[in-house]
Symmetry: C2
Subunit: 200 residues, 2 copies
């Protein structure tokens, strides 16, 4: 059975997004600094490339509604995600929401399914399509926190950026006392990638 | 001229100590988990040993009063520090305090000097005795934050533990927007050591 895992950029003070997230700025004020210098570097650091390729090696994804669309927007109408017609997932993606909506078939193998009955249901559906492949849990923080609190997350991959944000959305707020084990550290030039196992 | 640097154990959510710090528990509730598994491991991981040996390679130290003694205690009387008669510093140590006190000469080369006129004065005195050697800035968080805000810190060495504390003393609270550059990553088995330069 594949792992349930998430991969997230975080600041040294534990934020995965800055304050004042909006349609124009989904990572919030200064949030793009979490990615700056490594995620879109030219030429890319081979370590970063390998990490991101492996991070996208999933058979399905689950994401919160804020990752799929504007936080306060009414995207359940005709919003088609942030990523254009060919999103980078190339698998089924289960979007947690309170609004029912027909599946949205995109180019390149991505289909967004809208799940209104919670994370366990989303995970069950994701497992059915993913088979033995991994399942990627997207943001926002509250989605990751829900999976962590429910004991449904197997691994957390952090990209620790040399940045202090000072405010925003904290990754580990209100998650109780998860037991983590450091599995692997991959130093890149501008960021440090660390893989943690959640001990169940 | 030596570097002004600090080395600190931090949790993934950015805490350098847990809540409810006390005489019996100077790192606060669960705070010892920041060190657990690596700082006192037997046998020690050679990476951790090398990092800690280098971290103590300083010509002088500056620390806050909370690191020298009990937080609410009247240590300016006859308190002689947490470390017994032979503290691990083996250099002059400048303790920031509001209470004047004669220097306290310990065994093994450590002398505690009590500085009542602020961090610049402490740094000037530390530089005089350290010469070309580095100066280590000890905790607590507020001391590190003061040096960071004043632009007087050159390097921050973090020991990032696979721990979520959820509450306590945050390292990077209220420090504005320091520009950091990742210099070196040293993966150990239970912790990741990262060295950052503060860009002035």
């Amino acid at each position: 059975m594949g792992l349930v895992r998430c991969q997230l950029g975080v600041s040294l003070d534990g934020f995965m997004a800055g304050p004042d997230q909006s349609v124009d700025n989904p990572l919030g004020r200064d949030g793009e600094r979490l990615m700056h210098g490594w995620r879109f570097a030219e030429p890319a650091d081979p370590v970063d490339e390998a990490v991101m390729t492996e991070a996208m090696n999933n058979g399905a994804y689950i994401m919160g509604r804020n990752m799929f669309g504007p936080i306060r927007g009414e995207w359940h109408g005709d919003w088609r995600g942030w990523w254009g017609e060919d999103p980078p997932y190339h698998t089924p993606v289960f979007v947690l929401t309170h609004h029912e909506r027909e599946p949205l078939v995109m180019d390149g193998g991505t289909t967004f399914h809208f799940v209104t009955d919670g994370i366990e249901s989303a995970l069950r559906q994701a497992r059915e399509v993913a088979g033995d492949q991994h399942i990627g849990i997207g943001g926002g923080a509250s989605t990751v926190q829900q999976f962590l609190r429910a004991g449904l997350l197997d691994e957390i991959h952090l990209h620790i950026a040399p940045v202090v944000l000072g405010a925003g959305e904290r990754l580990f707020d209100d998650v109780g006392d998860p037991q983590l084990e450091q599995l692997e550290v991959l130093p890149a030039s501008m960021v440090t990638h660390i893989r943690y196992r959640v001990v169940h």
